[in-house]
């Protein structure tokens, strides 16, 4: 089969790889019909995530047709069209019992801090991902969900990560009716966080980025007030002016370690790797939220450390909430929202690319060329 093959920072290609096989009674093999490149794949692509091995196949946002199931799989059968959450979760452990499917304790040998994630380095379990024609899906009865007949597959594939991650970012913000919410990052997750903030009753939603084409999209997709940080001298002062001097009720970091906007953080975090990525979006979030406010983090950082103003977290009494999205927990509600027309995830898709052209797709997305917001790979063609 054809699969994406990571060759080093900024280098990927497609190669023939062996077909995946059932390795556990609860496994399924899925023929991938759609697979996205996620903004967090760019952290891998840029060489920022430790234990990203040459020869790995990325891809944690995918849907497809079940080809084969292990002897212990009860709910899925060959031929089912399923969306596969990015979390690999057993459904039985201490954490899965609490609905924390992103923190499963039975799916990642290499680390305890995060559960298994498809195609996201050995730090997230060492699983091959869905940027391939076929993929092994462990715990097939726990994560995957059969796509409803009425649902557009483009919406389905975005339910595997982007939509629940953006929604959970808003949920973790503890947004109360009338709250002012600032979202840092107008990528797909930030866009969904902005859209979701309204569902929780936000009174005002502001999106910050430096790419005008993404801000224009956020203006209508959110809909949100948008500001280009390249034109702002001091983020904390600017946002306080925007919020009657007190700061926002909720700030959401939907950027993570690839953030632009600070030469210092770019040097230490992105270039020298002395930080676990550039933490300027988080820095701004902490300093722009009001006292007693909430900072919600879904942006991905590496596992080491970052320079952020912890003193202000204490002095301002800020609550920080963060996690990988618990996709399975959120799916039923999000499907309702799509059915009701409250959200339209597929509107974010800007590019459809054959798997064979994956190197171009990664570069396009990474370099923000051609107005790219969300690229979808088609492993078996259209």
């Amino acid at each position: 089969m054809l699969a994406m093959n990571y060759r080093g920072p900024y280098r990927v290609r497609v190669d023939e790889k062996p077909m995946p096989v059932i390795l556990h009674p609860e496994d399924a093999i899925v023929r991938v019909t759609r697979s996205c490149i996620c903004g967090s794949d760019l952290h891998l692509y840029h060489g920022m995530v430790p234990d990203t091995r040459i020869g790995s196949t990325f891809g944690h946002e995918f849907c497809g047709i079940v080809e084969q199931v292990g002897p212990a799989v009860r709910d899925l059968k060959p031929g089912d069209h399923v969306l596969v959450p990015f979390n690999i979760a057993c459904g039985k452990c201490h954490f899965c019992q609490q609905g924390l499917f992103g923190n499963c304790h039975e799916s990642n040998a290499q680390a305890t801090a995060v559960g298994g994630i498809f195609g996201y380095s050995h730090t997230a379990g060492g699983y091959d991902g869905g940027q391939a024609q076929y993929v092994r899906v462990p715990y097939a009865d726990v994560g995957p969900m059969v796509i409803p007949d009425w649902m557009d597959p483009d919406d389905a594939v975005l339910l595997t990560d982007v939509v629940p991650t953006g929604y959970q970012a808003a949920e973790m913000g503890g947004i109360q009716r009338g709250d002012t919410v600032v979202v840092f990052g107008a990528g797909p997750v930030g866009l969904m966080a902005a859209r979701s903030a309204w569902l929780f009753g936000a009174g005002r939603v502001i999106v910050i980025d430096h790419l005008d084409y993404r801000l224009e999209f956020a203006r209508t997709f959110g809909p949100a007030e948008v500001y280009n940080f390249g034109e702002i001298d001091d983020m904390a002062v600017f946002l306080k002016k925007q919020t009657d001097g007190l700061g926002a009720d909720v700030c959401i970091d939907a950027v993570g370690g690839d953030a632009a906007g600070s030469a210092l953080h770019t040097l230490f975090g992105a270039k020298l790797k002395l930080e676990a990525g550039s933490a300027i979006a988080l820095h701004w979030a902490i300093n722009s939220v009001k006292k007693g406010g909430v900072v919600s983090i879904v942006g991905v950082y590496g596992p080491t450390g970052n320079m952020v103003p912890m003193g202000n977290v204490v002095n301002k009494g800020i609550t920080i909430r963060a996690n990988q999205a618990s996709v399975r927990r959120l799916l039923p509600r999000l499907i309702e929202h799509i059915r009701a027309g409250h959200i339209d995830p597929k509107a974010m898709i800007t590019h459809r690319v054959p798997l064979a052209d994956i190197a171009d797709a990664y570069h396009l997305f990474s370099a923000k060329l051609d107005g790219c917001i969300k690229p979808v790979l088609l492993p078996h063609g259209a």
Binding site: E26, Q98, A109, T112, G126, W198, P223, A367, L369
Partner: protein, 193 residues
């Protein structure tokens, strides 16, 4: 009161998930339906290992299911094994893994060459997308690369010319104080001809 530029009445589903109970102190986790807080849940059947899987020393036991992609190998694999002697909380664990990742890139090129394949690095870096959508940027990058290569070439050439001049000066000045002693320390085979 902060003012919105968007009329919330125009947002489909506005406020439908508003939850006054979800204030910042509201726990995400549900702990009311747990009978135990230890590692005594009904475990899934364990996967039979088929490749080497490195295990975090913070794990008391191997998780029931493991990834089998790209097991550790070569020099990078040895470094990774070393890294996994330390916990996730130890900076060295991650620094060793990052170092292994960089060595692994070189191993990948060697592996390609060993299979008779010269990696097409520009294609792997998506040069076609750059050509299609950012020709000016591509030209700038190529210009910078060419200037860098030229500067490097001139530097090396200048350095060689300097060596030759120094050698010539050495030959010419062999009877100057010190020069004979330096030459005497060099094995005859290593002396410049």
């Amino acid at each position: 009161m902060s003012r919105s530029l968007v009329d919330t009445a125009s947002i489909p589903g506005w406020g439908s998930d508003a939850d006054p109970g979800n204030d910042p102190t509201y726990p995400m986790r549900r702990i009311d339906d747990q009978s135990s807080r230890g590692m005594d849940w009904d475990r899934p059947a364990p996967q039979t290992p088929t490749v080497e899987v490195l295990r975090s020393i913070e794990h008391r036991r191997l998780p029931a299911v493991t990834g089998t992609a790209t097991p550790p190998s070569g020099i990078s694999g040895a470094l990774r094994r070393l890294a996994f002697r330390r916990s996730e909380s130890d900076w060295w664990h991650w620094l060793l893994l990052m170092g292994a990742d960089r060595i692994n890139v070189v191993e990948g090129v060697v592996e390609d060459l060993g299979r008779g394949r010269v990696p097409n690095i520009p294609a792997e870096m998506g040069i076609r997308a750059e050509w299609r959508h950012n020709r000016k940027g591509l030209a700038t990058k190529l210009g910078i690369a060419a200037a860098g290569a030229l500067a490097g070439y001139l530097l090396v050439r200048g350095s060689r010319d300097g060596d030759r001049s120094a050698d010539a000066a050495g030959h010419a000045g062999h009877d100057r104080p010190g020069s004979a002693a330096i030459g005497a320390d060099i094995h005859p085979a290593m002396r410049p001809s």
